[in-house]
């Protein structure tokens, strides 16, 4: 339960970080709207809090599951928000 709740909490922050990621927004031509560096650092630090809580509670199992689960959540989030937008990519061909 603790492990799953930790992953969900961190995932929410990871999604927020992804949405406001300046480099991703530039690469996808989404314009400005990224977060400031200070806010991003705060969010990243907060995303690590569940892991710290698991460690402080001595729950090694939950910590490891959180660490792995959050890594997977991050990869999934980056992949999801990099999907081509059909409206924006109509008429473009892939550069091979």
């Amino acid at each position: 339960m603790l492990a799953l709740a930790s992953i969900v909490f961190s995932w929410a922050l990871i999604i927020a970080l992804c949405l406001g990621d300046p480099k991703r927004r530039r690469a996808q031509r989404l314009g400005s709207g990224g977060q400031s560096a200070a806010i991003r650092r705060g969010m990243a630090a907060s995303a690590c809090l569940p892991g710290l809580l698991c460690a402080l509670l001595g729950d090694a199992s939950a910590f490891l599951i959180w660490l792995g689960g959050s890594g997977l959540a991050g990869w999934a989030t980056a992949s999801w928000f990099a999907r081509p937008d059909p409206a924006r990519s109509a008429g473009r061909t892939r550069n091979l």
């Binding site: 492990a3 599951i65 990869w75």
Partner: protein, 528 residues
């Protein structure tokens, strides 16, 4: 993130790239089979139609063990290992420790395989290396594990090779961290409309960054396991015990105490197991009886970790009286830093410390690491496209291994399902793997374009996965209702997983072929 000087960065790029290209395909094979081996016991239950859920240790076994002891020569009473085999049936290995011609410790004895009623089905005589091979009903899971642990090469060469591959992965993880200057800034950037090099680089680095901690942990623990018996133990034994490996094992794993070889009746094993279940809340996964029939006999029960823990639980009992002695650490006679570190290597590598949840996370991370390995190989090749000296052959080899290996594994699963009812699974499971691999190689030579090869292998894998649940049912495996009634959801779960994964793979390729004139895109992995 880490800004090395230019020359050092160039060297790290070379180290990362060359270790990857030289060993990457073998490493991929180890990682992929390791990923599937996370669920080896579930795959074993699914493939053999095992529906029993109660542990062999929850049934009376005192009488069974006494009967086996009576028929076993006393020279093999030094140690008795009790464990589960088949469909929660009992296996018992009565043995003594010897030293072989090369001075290495071996166990020799009799391995009894029992059925669900406690009757001996088979009795195998020999060393542990000789008697513990694949059985007809676990041939598929054994094949997966053996491929992962030693690539089917004989000891010690297979272990040394997988150990070297583990070190290569460690080097790749550390060098990857050192060369990526903007690790955190790039962590969400997956460019689609860019050059092939940048697209592949982003795929590789994003997946690699998110799975980096685990790449490090799995490489480190994996190479530890491979080198432990082949190199580590002989060296430490030489340095600390003049080469006496048994003395090393006794010091690290043994139970010290005054020897008392006087004959004495054994306490009730059922009482011991019942007490152990009460104390830990779970059935034992393994039981060891040392010195059965002696006054100083000891019984050790091994259990899954408690909630929140990673280290397995180990209980020690006095064999002659059946009295509880103490909870002992897995390694060492009392809790210690070194013991704890050694004890967590297993759960950290196998991911089996919290049941299906931790296994699912480890499985997904293994998949991520397969993806990182293959995208790294692709990136290396794409960067050199157009250089003098074509790497077309290597490009095809990457496709053949990268997509051919999963294809061959699912074909071997299909062959297992067909051969197991005939009793020939031990032969046909690896044979089918080799035949499917040969087919992939022939395809690589004959199919004109690499894109077509990729699609053919992915389509073949998808279709075979779709067929697996059907084959399992047709050949007499339990139906979903029978499995659920027996409280065995793993069979249904794996059937669904194969149907969904296989259907998605096959549909994706079919859709691309039917698709409306868009430029066919060279896809790499389903995760795309």
């Amino acid at each position: 993130m880490i800004h090395l000087p230019r020359d050092e960065t160039k060297l790290m790029v070379a180290v990362h790239g060359w270790s990857g290209i030289l060993l990457g395909l073998l490493l991929y094979a180890v990682i992929l089979t390791g990923t599937t081996a996370v669920f080896a016991s579930e795959i074993g239950s699914w493939s053999a139609g095992h529906v029993r859920t109660e542990s062999a240790f929850s049934r009376p076994l005192d009488g069974i063990v006494r009967g086996l002891a009576a028929r076993t020569p006393a020279k093999y009473h030094d140690g008795v290992n009790l464990f589960e085999i088949g469909d929660h049936e009992l296996g018992a290995y009565f043995h003594r420790d010897e030293v072989d011609a090369a001075g290495m410790p071996v166990s020799r004895g009799i391995y009894y395989q029992l059925d669900g009623q406690g009757r001996v089905v088979k009795a195998l005589h020999g060393t542990d290396e000789e008697v513990f091979g694949p059985r007809n009903d676990d041939a598929l899971s054994s094949f997966l594990v053996d491929t992962h642990v030693r690539l089917h090469l004989p000891n010690p060469w297979g272990l040394l090779l997988t150990g070297i591959l583990g070190l290569a992965m460690l080097v790749a993880a550390i060098s990857g961290l050192l060369i990526h200057r903007h690790l955190l800034k790039d962590i969400f950037t997956l460019r689609r409309n860019a050059s092939r090099v940048l697209v592949d680089r982003d795929r590789h680095s994003v997946a690699g960054t998110w799975s980096l901690p685990f790449a490090f942990v799995l490489a480190f623990t994996g190479s530890f396991f491979s080198f432990y018996g082949t190199v580590g133990v002989p060296i430490v034994a030489m340095a600390a015990f003049g080469g006496d490996v048994q003395a090393l094992n006794e010091t690290v794993f043994g139970n010290p105490g005054k020897p008392d070889p006087r004959p004495a009746a054994m306490g009730s094993l059922d009482r011991i197991v019942g007490d152990a279940i009460r104390r830990t809340g779970g059935d034992p996964t393994f039981i060891v009886i040392e010195g059965i029939g002696r006054a100083d006999a000891r019984v050790t029960t091994y259990h899954n970790p408690g909630p929140g823990d990673v280290e397995p639980l180990t209980l020690l009992y006095r064999g002659a009286t059946g009295a509880f002695d103490r909870i002992k650490p897995s390694v060492g006679t009392r809790p210690s830093a070194g013991g704890t570190l050694a004890a967590v290597m297993s759960p950290m590598h196998f991911g089996n410390f919290a049941g299906l949840l931790s296994k699912a996370v480890w499985f997904a991370l293994g998949f991520a690491m397969c993806y990182v390995t293959l995208t790294g190989l692709r990136l290396w090749l794409v960067r050199r496209r157009g250089d003098t000296g074509s790497f077309e052959w290597l490009d095809r080899t990457v496709s053949t291994v990268g997509l051919g290996l999963p294809f061959a594994l699912v074909v071997s699963a299909a062959a297992f399902l067909i051969a197991m009812p005939q009793g020939s699974a031990v032969f046909w499971t690896p044979a089918a793997f080799l035949i499917a691999s040969a087919g992939a190689i022939v395809g690589a030579i004959a199919i004109p374009s690499r894109d077509m090869l990729d699609r053919a292998l992915q389509f073949g894998t998808g279709v075979t996965m779709l067929l697996l649940p059907l084959l399992r049912l047709i050949l007499g495996g339990p139906t979903w209702s029978a499995a659920i009634a027996a409280g065995q959801p793993v069979i249904v779960g794996l059937d669904l997983a194969f149907l969904v994964a296989g259907g998605w793979m096959a549909w994706r390729i079919a859709r691309e072929r039917i698709g409306s004139g868009a430029v066919p895109v060279a896809t790499l992995m389903p995760a795309e």
